[in-house]
Amino acid sequence: MFEQSISTLAKKLRNKDISSVELTRLFLKRIATLDPQLNSFITVSEQQALEQAAAADILLSSGKGSSLTGIPIAHKDLFCTEGTLTTCGSKMLNNFIPPYESTVTSRIQEAGAVMLGKTNMDEFAMGSSNENSFYGAVKNPWNLDMVPGGSSGGSAAAVAAGLVVAATGTDTGGSIRQPASFCGITGLKPTYGRVSRFGMIAYASSLDQGGPMAKSAEDCAHLLQAMAGFDEKDSTSSETPNDDYISNLNTPLTGLKIGLPKEYFGEGLDPKVADIIMTAVKEFEKMGAIVKEISLPNLQLSIPSYYVIAPSEASSNLSRFDGVRFGHRCDDPKDLLDMYNRSRAEGFGTEVQKRIMVGTYALSEGYYDAYYLKAQKIRRLIKEDFVKALSEVDVIMGPVAPTTAFGLGSKTSDPVAMYLEDIYTLSVNLAGIPAMSIPAGFANGMPVGLQVMGNYFAEAKLLNVAHQYQQNTDWHLQTPTMAKGA
């Protein structure tokens, strides 16, 4: 049951083959049994889930509801959920229960989905391995000694292990796609502005974007359909109408123009990963696609540009965590400065503090032009590269990450190696275009994701491309051994 798709489960719920309460209990039991090994949840909201499931059953029995009604899902713990602890993976928010609901979670709730809980993540979404969580590292279901990727590592691991049907994630520099790749699931980072950021705790506002994480492109389409769309509460959300993501899934790919950027296949890429990507591309050629080599010449500059812009914005976004109104406050502050210093030193973990300091430095008087402004110029170049490439091809394909999931603790002492993990994903956020990770095979015993990038608001096209691939392959249907144990 836990391996089934949203549309299959929706049909079963509607046919009363199973009730939402039964389905919810089944998944809650899987969480209770398996999650102690994975640590993918920070909060499991059992009682609330059962209440939502009961409500969904009533709705379904009156013939109402959407394809998500009664389906158990989970949210990354940076979406504010009214009345439910929202930590952002940080000690800073260890006591934070929002009195409001994010737009994403509220839309998914309105669609009738049942929230089982909140998933673990790198603190404030800063990380590529999910080792930066105050609540401990998340393990990869395919190998418990490996990282699940980050920062949406909890969502990725939970979906891969069948603890939820689908989950939300957020992607600032690869935080949906890289863990999706490492855990062998499907994830979509939408166009910047496609999904509202209201109620999503900000890391880097000009890059952050929420998106769906699920086993298949079809499941992602169902979730995105509920999440996406203009929100007057987010000034950067787009008024471009949503496409119908479901009905576009079956368009044939004959004549699809695929661009392969040569910079994505250079030094640093694990040859076994490269082979898998090329095999996947051949599969598309069999479906009638045309492949063309392209160039994204500024790819290398995406790392320095990102690691100036994102920390700069973060240094400002995280100023509100000052111990004054909510969150962690140190004991017995002797004065205001002491309260600020100790509350923030105690509340934020090392990686967060590091990025706040980098960002503060980059924005400082005398350094702003050399760092922040320069980074913004590079950002424009990167965007222009993509705009040019996407005027010649329909989609761009390449690896999501240079390697498969690495060992827990293996890169924690080498931040630069950790940052290089994001080389293939960062530029997409800098440009603001949508991109997906699709399971495409296994190397080193671990899953490998194919990245598919598209033009602005081409989510329907990406989901169509991914779905057609998944009609012809079964990589997305693989289940880790540990998940079969319950």
């Binding site: 934070f96 914005e313 109104r325």
Partner: protein, 481 residues
């Protein structure tokens, strides 16, 4: 040494939008702490700002009123610093691309001279909350009602050369923003706050001296006094061969002194950068033109019209147009009186005197412009004389009714019957034969001086009701026999 003072002003005006700059919370003064706030004003995690277009419109109106360039693309930037009443840890303001660019304003001084003050820029920004230090047993209370209230910060060039000119400039800005209806101009409630930058330089020197900034001066009178005090302080230091420290100072009106708040070394590095939560504001020419076309008449235009339309003097026209409320009162009253000179004299004279006595704004005058006009009509048609009119106005002020009601009730109607006046005069002449004798013996100059005595007696006998215009010629005639 002969010093020249150089002054530049930053004026924060609170805009009269219904809701805050970046949230739907109501704007208002004096509400219970933290009752006029939303997630956005509280800086809650995940809350996002949504720009209030009403504030944009007001800023563009101001730009037009000071002949300024309008920023067709303006950008909000974050000014980062930590303070407990700054909930997000940054103030959303504008830095490199303000909504209003370079403009200017002509300021008329009391001596009638006019000088031009350059406007550097005016930008939109949100206000912070308030820290409350009393009643919390040594702790600090935070009230975020004011958080995200819209401000337009108007920055002048260092073109001002005296305290008087500074006050005239602030008054002109006050008058413009209230004319436009974009600020209530209430300085006591902080709707308009002034930062004054002052430096001295030897007369004739081109380079500016080191300046100090006096923060948050909140009345016209304090601006003038603070400037005088600071000029004196700086001159003393310079004349002793000392140097001015660049710093922020605070004016204490009780001690009439300025004192140091923080020096430049302690100044924050605000790390301004474009706010990624808000898109740049891009205006169309149509939008800007439409606002320009819909601007109300401004103080200078109104003063010019008062001169041409009502033949008022420049001085009268300027006084009457100095506030929109005063100008409106004058025009409404004059619509009844139809004699601008009389209306102007009474508005600027007796009415202003009563307002000053009771420290009332003209908006709160207990006598409406209509009722005031009706009173003046009774002077013009000789029902009462000017002296009686003052008493009637006082009675109206105290709520005793309309001019006609009071005149009727108190029997104040002027005696205009020449026969009755002649009888009254005859009685006075009969009662004062010696004075009549003296008068008749005197030369013309002396006679003129003595007339006053008889007029006084007649007015006294008539309880002020005799029409002075009639008494004079009849009296002269009868005295001469």
């Amino acid at each position: 040494m002969n010093w020249e003072v150089v002054i530049g002003l930053e004026i924060h005006t609170q805009l009269t939008t219904k809701s805050k700059l970046f949230s739907g919370a109501a704007v208002g003064f004096g509400a219970e702490p933290n009752t006029q706030t939303t997630l956005v004003d509280l800086g809650m995690p995940g809350a996002l700002p949504v720009f209030n277009k009403e504030a944009l419109r007001m800023a563009v109106m101001f730009g037009h009123a000071v002949n300024a360039e309008i920023g067709m693309t303006s950008v909000f930037a974050r000014k980062n610093y930590f303070y407990p009443d700054l909930p997000k840890g940054y103030q959303t303001s504008q830095m490199d691309h303000p909504i209003v660019g370079i403009g200017h304003l002509d300021v008329t001084l009391e001596d009638g001279t006019t000088s031009r003050v350059g406007i550097t820029r005016a930008h939109l920004e949100e206000d912070a909350g308030k820290s409350l230090h009393e009643d919390f047993q040594g702790m600090t209370g935070i009230d975020l009602n004011r958080s995200s209230t819209p401000l337009l910060e108007i920055v002048s060039e260092p073109d001002i050369r005296s305290a008087k000119e500074a006050v005239a400039y602030v008054k002109m800005i006050h008058s413009i923003v209230t004319y436009l209806g974009i600020c209530d101009g209430n300085m006591a409630e902080g709707s308009m706050r002034c930062d004054v930058n002052i430096s001295l330089r030897p007369k004739g020197q081109k380079e500016y001296g080191t300046r100090t900034e006096i923060k948050n001066v909140n009345s016209f009178r304090f601006i003038e006094k603070a400037i005088y005090t600071e000029i004196e302080r700086q001159a003393d230091i310079l004349e002793d061969g000392g140097r001015i420290t660049q710093e922020t100072r605070l004016y204490d009106p009780e001690k009439n002194e300025t004192r140091s708040m923080r020096s430049k070394e302690d100044a924050n590095d605000y790390r301004y950068f474009p706010c990624p939560d808000l898109l740049p504001i891009v205006l169309t020419q149509d939008y800007v033109d439409e606002i320009k076309a819909s601007l109300p008449e401004l103080p200078r235009q109104k003063a010019a019209r008062f001169q041409s339309e009502h033949s008022l003097s420049e001085y009268d026209a300027n006084v009457l147009s100095s506030s929109r409320a005063m100008a409106d009162y004058f025009e409404s009253a004059n619509a009844v009186v139809k004699d601008a000179k009389v209306t102007a004299n009474w508005v600027m004279g007796e009415l202003s005197k009563l307002l000053n006595q009771e420290q009332l704004d003209i908006e709160n005058a207990p006598v409406s412009a209509q009722a005031f006009g009706e009173l003046l009509v009774r002077i013009k048609d000789n029902t009462i004389n000017g002296k009686t009119a003052k008493d009637v106005l006082q009675a109206m002020w105290e709520g005793e009714g309309s001019a006609d009601t009071i005149i009727e009730a108190k029997g104040l109607k002027q005696v205009t019957d020449t026969g009755a006046i002649e009888t009254m005069i005859q009685a006075i002449l009969d009662a004062n034969p010696a004075q009549v004798e003296q008068y008749r013996a005197a030369d013309e100059d002396k006679q003129k001086k003595m007339t006053g005595f008889f007029v006084g007696q007649v007015m006294k006998a008539s309880q002020g009701k005799a029409n002075p215009g009639l008494v004079n010629p009849i009296l002269t005639k009868m005295l001469k026999g």
